[in-house]
């Protein structure tokens, strides 16, 4: 293919991809779930905590609708926090309590956010459920035990990475740079170790980075890989190309804080955090390894079939990494500058 054609293809493909992927810009890292905690304080009486995430000063447009017949024991309290809005209520659900009754989340079906629901009974038994936009209500279940809770957090971990386009793009960028299998193992292991470390530190409350600068920094890690991929295509070398695992280790620390946003936003009870953290992290690893395996299988398939893609198409993934990295960086820095 001539240089002119290649240049034209780049000019056409990149804006086209940017257009198609534009909605992801609003999604990356903003899939923070809402959280509903219901604790039984006396037979049939409950304290309710309803936390909805705030994004750029806008509250998630989801309203909690408790079952009919429930009455307030005292006036509700509302708190506007930096990243969420918290509503506290104290209710009486009658003799039968809330079990088997339906709680609706009005407006959830119009969002892409899940709601974590934690229900604690008077006897200490508790369960955690996930309510999704496709089924925006929950029928309060009987206690289901730890396994169901682990499953809920594990699925949330898988979702968090599959939905977090920026994490996947960073991993894709690393895959495009890595030259051999051993380096691949080292790089993915380094990324896993690093993000597990900061995920744990952030979730347990030992470290914290505010959301806007963190998101900008994560975008910068993706942008950083763009020129490195181009160097790799040209046959040039650099520290990143020689030691991608070091970059994965360093930047993985930032991505771990990003993963933690999926858990810390919930404001889980302290005793549940280690269990939730473990399940969530396992979910993240399953999602990440699944993505890596899929890419490797595809590459293997193309090799077996001796596929020869046009150069511009072969390089499109690299352009996506660089372009979206740049786009997100600019967008997120602008958000910080504008103070939203």
């Amino acid at each position: 293919m001539s240089a002119w054609k290649l240049g034209l293809s780049r000019r056409l493909i990149v804006p086209l991809l940017a257009l198609l992927l534009a909605p992801l810009t609003a999604l990356a890292h903003e899939a923070r779930p809402a959280y509903l905690a219901i604790a039984e304080t006396a037979p049939g009486q409950y304290s309710v905590l309803w936390r909805t995430p705030m994004l750029a000063g806008m509250r998630l447009p989801v309203a909690l609708q408790l079952p009919q017949g429930v009455r307030d024991l005292r006036p509700p309290q509302y708190d506007e926090l930096a990243e969420s809005r918290v509503e506290r209520r104290w209710i009486d659900a009658g003799k039968g309590g809330l079990q088997g009754k339906r709680i609706d989340f009005r407006g959830l079906e119009l969002t892409i956010t899940d709601v974590f629901v934690r229900i604690e009974r008077l006897d200490g038994a508790h369960s955690t459920e996930i309510v999704r936009p496709s089924r925006p209500y929950i029928e309060v279940p009987a206690p289901r035990g730890g396994l169901a809770t682990a499953q809920a957090f594990l699925l949330q971990g898988v979702e968090h990475i599959l939905f977090g386009a920026d994490h996947l793009l960073f991993v894709l960028g690393l895959l495009l740079i890595v030259k051999d299998r051993w380096m691949l193992v080292k790089t993915i292991t380094a990324f896993t170790l690093a993000h597990s470390l900061t995920l744990a530190a952030a979730t347990l409350g030992y470290a914290n980075i505010p959301g806007p600068p963190l998101n900008a920094a994560i975008a910068l890690t993706i942008l950083f890989l763009g020129p490195e991929i181009v160097r790799s295509w040209r046959g040039e070398t650099s520290f990143t190309i020689r030691h991608p695992w070091v970059v994965a280790l360093a930047f993985g620390l930032l991505h771990g804080f990003g993963f933690a946003s999926g858990l810390t936003a919930l404001g889980l009870p302290h005793d549940e955090i280690p269990f939730a953290l473990l399940s969530f992290n396992v979910g993240v690893e399953i999602g990440q390894l699944g993505f890596v395996a899929l890419i490797l299988l595809l590459l293997r398939a193309f090799k077996v079939l001796e596929m020869h893609w046009p150069l511009w198409l072969e390089r499109t993934p690299g352009y996506i990494v660089g372009s979206l990295g740049a786009f997100w960086t600019i967008q997120r820095v602008m958000l910080i500058v504008s103070g939203e």
Partner: protein, 198 residues
């Protein structure tokens, strides 16, 4: 067979299959993760789509690396084209009988019919456009049908790549395993036919 004949065959059989269809009555899967993932999930959890695409990809792979390579491009391309057609506002609401597709593709794979590469690709294209069309009809009701179609097409591309490469790279008893898989696809089609008659 020349290129235009392959396209003509694909179009002819694809239109024929669409005309032999029944009304659509299905909904797009909602993952809650947005239209792209909805499109992916709908394809992956719908055996009436997944099984024929796997079968068509395997059959292309049976023909060797060259048909497999072309199937990787043509099948998703025709699927996407079919999806766009199905998403048109006045698209006739017709979906292929599941049993017909399953029996047809399953039989081709199980019998390992030694057709020329061009006909294998024509079959893939035909399956792609016909199933893509019915998928498009369903996706048309979604919030963002174009992105749903893109998600499903990406899934079709991945499945086609993996299945056709696996089939092209195998010989001997592993090829027989793939043919057995074809017979299962055909058998599930017979079950679907029985259910339809019931």
């Amino acid at each position: 067979m020349t290129g235009w004949r392959v396209w003509a065959h694909s179009a002819f059989y694809g239109v024929g299959l669409i005309l032999s269809s029944r009304p659509a009555a299905a909904h797009l899967v909602q993952t809650g993760l947005g239209p792209v993932y909805d499109g992916v999930a709908h394809f992956v959890v719908s055996p009436e789509y997944l099984a024929p695409i796997v079968g068509a990809a395997i059959y292309a792979g049976f023909g060797g690396k060259a048909p497999a390579r072309r199937a990787i491009v043509m099948l998703p391309l025709f699927w996407f084209a079919g999806s766009l057609l199905g998403e048109l506002p006045r698209a006739p609401p017709l979906i292929l009988p599941t049993w017909l597709v399953l029996i047809g593709i399953g039989a081709f794979v199980a019998a390992d019919l030694p057709l020329p590469a061009a006909l294998r690709i024509a079959l893939c294209s035909m399956v792609g456009i016909a199933l893509g069309y019915s998928n498009g009809l369903i996706a048309a009701g979604a919030a963002d049908p174009l992105r749903s179609a893109l998600g499903a097409t990406a899934a079709v591309f991945i499945v086609t790549s993996l299945a056709s490469a696996a089939a092209a790279a195998t010989s001997g008893w592993i090829r027989i395993v793939f043919r057995v898989l074809g017979s299962w696809i055909a058998a599930s089609g017979l079950l679907a036919l029985g259910w339809a008659l019931h």
